[in-house]
Symmetry: C2
């Protein structure tokens, strides 16, 4: 598989490509070390050196090499291309590439493409008030943060879906390649449609080491690595060495070969209707870690070892020998040949650089909001369930939503800018109506018994939450829309990924040049209260807590209590931009409480009094029964009904909360209620019994500043679960209607004695439940057959 050493390059091309690479290497090293004297117009002195030396040199020369060579093929073939830089720690490289091509200075005019700008480029890097040390939202041309490792290839596939003319190169570090999410991502090719999707070109960069250890893949015999990559569905093209000219030639040849193969496959699929899955090309690039940097420092080998990972010469400011060595290193790139006296890159350096939006740092796909179109969302009334009176009928909320999503899928059939992703749970989550409009993406073998598999489908199902999340992130950041439906408990698998995406959005929202992108929308269903059949391992409502720790500009959490409120929330989140929206909703039959109009109004407020459910009559209530989530809402309404029956003189107010962040103070979240509004709903001095879907202390964490907080008593999930019945789940966690009535009696002053009999009746009902379930394995008929209207 090794490439012909002669390769496709003329000597002139070789010379100019190498000039570009040397210039990029110079700029990368300069960013790590220098705050003055950027062109080395005078001998290097300690005061030119930054006081804190930060950055990752090791991966930078390899990334620079890829940037240089992608430039060549983009220009030669007029490609529309992105690159996802997995080893994003090598921020200096990607910054160098975009500065050389001019994208950087167009984005940040004060960092001009001249000596002044070069000095700013150097000084700002990893400097307080400057730019991060990794590839980040601040980096032009990037859709991928270089902090946490593992997601580059999934992001690349996400960017390629439904972008038939796009090439997404993806550099994968051999460190990152050890992570689970990356290991799973290799199989993404089974979901990539050569007709409607673009191409992904993985470049596995084996520089041999991670922070302090060799990497697994770099130490496999080449034949074994080859088998692995072929087993992943690829045709690996190997490039390697430490002689720049040879590596330039071989890499150019490998890129040409890979792009020719990609073009052939796309032509075959698009023009000749070929549906056979073919091995897709990829490049294995073996170059030394810290290549062209110091070979040895203080007698220890550095170039080609893990010691080149960060700052190869650490003591430059204090140690004259290190300073000299740094100067030699920097001068080895011959900056005087690469930059004019004014600091501008000379023509040779720029010979390979493409023009305008073809430049990697200026491709609009990497600033996806520029390409984003409004999602065609249908009028909700077509999909709303008819509610003649509250609680008279049951619907499965996610199934109702499925009909809406089917319409969205249908109305984007030609535009192809909406995807539904999920870990093999679309139908389990009752969203299968979408298959009428689009099947499930699948390029592997299809058998007659299969249903809804579709070479051109836009529903992505794979048993990996990591892939679902990574694909969707890549898809959204390149300007499209989507929804991730997931079992509530297992969305914790992507806790760390959503952290990074929220951080990305928080930062990108503050960059005026980044256009807003569609929000990342989660539909969490098969939730804690209705995993009674799968048991304890499937019960965890803590994702809401997790995201609510993050930047309030970005995170939104909704718990619609029925089908129509779910429709309203879905409509809202699908229209929104630059948020992470978490929607928790049930898939099991659930009472319809609100008409579509009521639902719209209620969701717009985010929290409100359900007058029809309470017994207050104009005055202040004696007690507030609050609820958030479908199951708690049902239990609160059942409790309200019991109170109405047994204690009709008690003034009960029922409050339902859809938008959890409304509970926060106004100055802590844009949706936070002002105190007067909170006090108007919850009172300042009456007992509030709050039945919440998740961990009860979350409500305290949101509401602890409110005047009425000392009267707030919350019930929720407290890790008491097993395989049992739905009602037993709420009883085990003290969230059941009987317990809520007891809570009211215990907390409303004066009721304890007056309502002792009612309290005993509630305790008896709980006992009856326990005996019944032990014997019958089902819920009490009075619970199973309960309805509000009855």
């Amino acid at each position: 598989m090794s490439q012909d050493a002669a390769g496709p390059l003329t000597d002139e091309e070789l010379r100019t490509l190498d000039a570009h690479w040397r210039a990029a290497n110079y700029l990368a090293a300069g960013q790590i070390y220098l705050m003055a004297n950027p062109l080395l117009t005078e001998p290097l002195r300690p005061e030119h050196i930054k006081p804190r030396l930060l950055g990752h040199w090791g991966t930078s020369p390899g990334l620079n090499l890829v940037y240089t060579h992608l430039n060549r093929v983009i220009k030669a073939r007029d490609l529309d291309a992105l690159c996802v830089w997995g080893p994003g720690h090598g921020g200096p490289a990607v910054l160098a590439g975009s500065w050389l091509e001019g994208s950087y200075s167009e984005t940040y005019p004060d960092v001009s493409r001249d000596a002044t700008g070069m000095e700013r480029l150097f000084k700002q890097f990893s400097f307080p008030g400057g730019v991060p040390s990794h590839v980040a939202p601040e980096t032009p041309g990037s859709i991928h943060e270089g902090g946490e490792l593992g997601y580059s290839l999934a992001h690349a596939y996400g960017a390629a879906f439904d972008n038939p003319d796009l090439l997404v190169a993806c550099v994968i570090g051999d460190g990152e390649a050890e992570t689970g999410p990356l290991a799973a991502s290799w199989h993404s090719d089974k979901f990539l449609d050569p007709v409607h999707d673009g191409a992904v070109l993985p470049i596995l960069h084996l520089n041999g080491y991670k922070i302090a250890n060799p990497t697994v893949l770099s130490r496999l015999p080449e034949a074994e690595l080859d088998e692995l990559l072929r087993g992943y569905g690829h045709e690996p093209l190997h490039v390697g060495g430490d002689d720049p000219a040879e590596v330039h030639r071989a890499l150019a040849a490998a890129l040409d070969d890979a792009l020719d193969r990609i073009a052939r496959t796309q032509r075959g699929a698009r023009e000749d209707g070929i549906t056979e899955r073919v091995r897709r090309p990829m490049i294995v690039l073996r170059t030394p870690k810290g290549w062209t940097g110091p070979a040895e420092v203080d007698g220890e080998p550095v170039e080609g070892t893990w010691r080149a990972h960060q700052v190869p010469l650490p003591g430059v400011r204090e140690n004259p020998a290190h300073l000299r060595q740094l100067e030699q290193w920097l001068r080895s790139y011959r900056p005087e040949e690469l930059f004019g006296a004014d600091g501008r890159p000379v023509a040779d350096v720029l010979a390979c650089v493409p023009e305008g939006t073809r430049r990697l740092g200026s491709n609009p796909h990497a600033n996806g909001g520029l390409l984003l179109r409004e999602l065609p969302l249908p009028p909700l009334d077509t999909f709303a369930v008819l509610v003649e009176k509250p609680g008279a009928a049951l619907h499965e909320p996610t199934r109702v939503l499925g009909d809406l999503l089917e319409k969205v899928m249908r109305d984007t059939r030609d535009r192809r800018d909406f995807r539904l992703v999920g870990p093999d749970e679309t139908a389990s989550n009752r969203l299968q109506a979408v298959y009428e409009a689009s099947g499930k993406a699948w390029q592997a073998e299809v058998l007659p018994v299969d249903e809804h598999l579709d070479r051109h489908g836009r529903v992505l199902e794979v048993l990996s939450e990591h892939l679902c999340q990574g694909w969707l992130e890549g898809y959204l950041l390149t300007g499209r829309h989507g929804l991730f439906s997931c079992y509530e408990a297992f969305v914790h698998i992507v806790d760390s990924m959503v952290n990074q995406h929220i951080k990305w959005l928080r930062t990108s929202r503050r960059l005026t040049w980044r256009a807003p992108v569609a929000s990342l929308n989660y539909l969490l269903t098969s939730h804690v209260w209705r995993q009674d059949h799968n048991g304890f391992s499937h019960q965890d409502p803590g994702f809401v807590d997790h995201v609510l720790n993050k930047s309030p500009e970005v995170v939104r959490v909704y718990l619609p209590p029925d089908a129509n409120t779910l429709l309203s929330v879905a409509d809202h989140v699908l229209r929104s931009r630059d948020y992470v929206n978490v929607v928790v909703a049930g898939k099991q039959p659930c009472f319809d409480w609100l008409t579509m109009d009521q639902a719209r109004a209620h969701c717009a407020r985010g929290a409100g009094i359900w007058e029809w459910a309470g017994t207050e009559n104009g005055g202040e209530p004696d007690v507030v029964l609050a609820c958030a989530g479908d199951v708690p809402t049902q239990e609160v309404l059942a409790a309200a009904q019991l109170l109405r029956r047994h204690l009709p003189e008690l003034a009960v107010r029922v409050v339902n909360v859809v938008d959890m962040t409304r509970l926060l103070p106004h100055d802590e979240h844009p949706h936070g209620m002002p105190d007067f509004e909170y006090d108007g709903l919850f009172t300042t001095d009456k007992p509030v019994i709050f039945a919440y879907h998740g961990y009860p202390w979350l409500i305290h964490r949101l509401a602890y500043r409110r005047t009425g907080h000392p009267n707030l008593h919350v019930r929720g999930y407290k890790e008491s679960g097993t395989t049992t019945t739905p009602f037993d789940m709420v009883v085990r966690n003290d969230l059941d209607r009987y317990r809520l009535v007891m809570d009211v009696i215990d907390r409303v002053p004066g009721l304890a004695v007056r309502a002792a009999g009612v309290r005993q009746a509630m305790a008896d009902a709980r006992s009856r439940h326990h005996s019944w379930i032990r014997e019958h394995g089902t819920d009490l008929p009075e619970v199973a057959e309960w309805s509000w209207g009855g």
Copy 2:
């Protein structure tokens, strides 16, 4: 690679193996459906059927087949063996196997190995008050919960490490194989020492479908799958078909082949010193999903399709045709040949079953606490740093801990029951002293430049938090000790795994037959305040919030403020059992505050007043400065010093909290302080300024029930980060000393006017910081050179 169809079985063996398998299949189906008439001694009637039909039939026949055949080889070769059942949804299968062999009835005597016990086995399955539908802690012989998918193979390797005579078989479902953690786990063989570790035998079970979709690996051409598995380092042995006799023969042959290869490799390494890595055998088992179940239901194909995933005949209680079909299905196993009239399995069924602790359900490795030995922990004083007065010297706490761990590693050299795991960060986290006692496990190529790689090492470093966590869980659950050191931000990668481990421990603690195991200990370092160089992507202190949502019986969180307190905490957590301990500690130079004796006493209390740091004099303080975490402690002490200087008449109390759960109410966590103790520390009415390491609202969530809560004001990390200096990080998040002094002045009644000048001086200092850092890129000298003693 296909096996000789004749194989190693005699006809008699084939007959008895098949009898065992049929019996297991019968029992698996019986558990899903029946609550009476277990032996079908009368025609099946609706009242014999459970009211709620739950369970996963699809995977069960395959798991039963593996159980049957493992029995054979264990018995034939007298193997010490475990099996990790990745498709643990197939709980009925593993319960069937352990009931047949008698382990189940020995563990749960009321579920006897007779007709009465069989009826109980059936009824209890997925029945309220019974057993979960998945393999779970309740399942004898298991170390692996069958809920969330992805971790089976990592658990298997964890169990095999340092168990040279153990065989760990691991069934991997083709659904699970799509997950990231599982995909990464295949490379675990590069870390398995054939001399000191046991063997792992992966059995990839391709039944073709997950919940509703085909699986990726089952739809690869066999040659491509073969390349993939060989690329992972395995020699795949293929077994498949739907004719039971043929599959029995082929599987028996493949198992013999695999075990022969394993024995040869182990002999070679152990007796002949062979160090070359060899391909390790694995089995690819292709059998139909729901094999031997209903071929069709209501005209739709079921056996061999995704429709067999859960309950193939859903309407049995209501639908007479389904009931008839169920009866035919159950009778197809000919239960009358398999069980006596008393319900006991007949001799043929039990012919393959091994004896005593060789049985999979009775192997003590799967109840690891039985094998657990006390960890030899050295006296702490040897490692303590000398503290003549508080704040006079600096140490890197994790480096000090490294010396202790080196000693533990050394003292377990022969026993080999302690491991340190981490994602390529042991040295980055300053724990590299351990390499003196044990290098890093590595079986791949070694180059001269490498350091500390060791074929027999017990330090496990791989760039996958998932693997670190999975290996350690497997290691601990089989009765050994360990510590996971991790960058604080990226431990979120295993949020979902730690959920499952906590759930496992919560349940296993309640099972009297499960002996306590060593706690899972996290050392989180490179934490939020000192990721100033890596920036925003590396800043997240929310893991503490995540684990504190979980069962209080299991979770413990410690934030030692200096080196000696870290030693004391480490000693405590390494001795503890059945907990998940989260320890957050810095690796950067940090002032030493407490002597070893003081540290011990302080950690034993978990929270206490640092009299030497405050200015109260017997009476009540005017204000409490509380702190948790090393950086907040430093800022609080600096603030206390500023107050002492500028407002000497103010009575300031300094409280340090090490054990975060002490803040919880006594009835919510075993470590929670009684109110009188909390009030004694924090007062009931004085302002408390609490400087906390993580998200500030966590402190409110812990303390909201306390009388003094309205006076509690918390500072912490609020997602304000970038690449900057350490002090700028605390300023950005309002946790700096100057801000804390301003908070005191703003909150102590009467100070606002009196101390207006001091407040202005503090505000000026913050301004000075901002100007200085913009110019110099470093921290103010007064901060950089600050010390308590100075």
